[in-house]
């Protein structure tokens, strides 16, 4: 299990290759990469704030919950904080398992919990304004499917 919270940019492709090569006898690797989307108003910058200490704890908890629930060989989570631009990679998760179903479901679970249970906050800056991104009810509702 590898969990990284960092301000530095990272190469999601290279990370995925390293993760894949590090596995032994795993038939499936699933990954998700989150990218900064531009806005209609033109996004200048996205600032991501986090809660050092709690962030790592929360991510470890989410990842270990996933490994208890599914048969996983390994889990990777990388999440950036700080100032990002459109098209920058924000975060990635990867899961390795013997079979694809566990890898897919665990990655989906990780993303649902990472969205609303890991202490990150996004602020979007356009030329006209800067606003904190509001949480979505649908993200909160998404957690109920794992109950």
């Amino acid at each position: 299990m590898k969990i990284l919270v960092q301000d530095a940019a990272f190469d999601a492709g290279a990370e995925l290759n390293d993760f894949t090569k590090a596995q032994s006898n795993m038939g499936a690797v699933v990954s998700f990469t989150g990218i900064v989307r531009d806005l209609d108003a033109g996004l200048k910058q996205m600032d991501i704030e986090h809660y050092p200490g709690m962030t790592e704890r929360a991510l470890e908890k989410i990842a270990s919950d996933a490994t208890e629930r599914w048969n996983l060989g390994d889990v990777l989570v990388i999440h950036r904080f700080g100032a990002l631009k459109p098209e920058d990679v924000i975060m990635m998760v990867a899961t390795a398992s013997k079979h694809r179903k566990d890898a897919f479901e665990a990655a989906d679970f990780l993303m649902d919990f990472l969205k609303s249970r890991a202490p990150f906050w996004k602020k979007e800056q356009t030329d006209a304004a800067q606003d904190w991104v509001s949480s979505k009810q649908e993200d909160e509702d998404a957690l109920t499917r794992w109950e």
């Binding site: 975060m91 969205k115 609303s116």
Partner: protein, 81 residues
């Protein structure tokens, strides 16, 4: 006790962190104490349903006891991923 604020809660209160001496029994008691202190706190804590709280870095409820607690953090719902 260390009290931390994040995102717009931090902006409204004006500091990311402060040391607060309190005898509040629960998170909600502390919120009431802060609200009574100054306008900026009253503003930040005006709608508790818009806030989340972590007690010693675990997501918690507002009725959580503060006994033995070292760190408490207030913030809006999280928007990771």
């Amino acid at each position: 006790m260390n009290v931390l604020y994040f995102a717009w809660v931090r902006e409204r209160i004006g500091v990311p962190k402060e040391q607060i001496e309190t005898s509040a029994a629960t998170v909600m008691d502390l919120v009431e104490e802060l609200r009574a202190r100054e306008e900026r706190y009253a503003l930040a804590f005006s709608d508790i349903s818009a806030l989340r709280v972590a007690v010693d870095q675990d997501l918690s409820d507002f009725d959580t006891s503060l006994e033995g607690v070292r760190e408490i953090a207030f913030f809006p719902p999280m928007t990771g991923g």
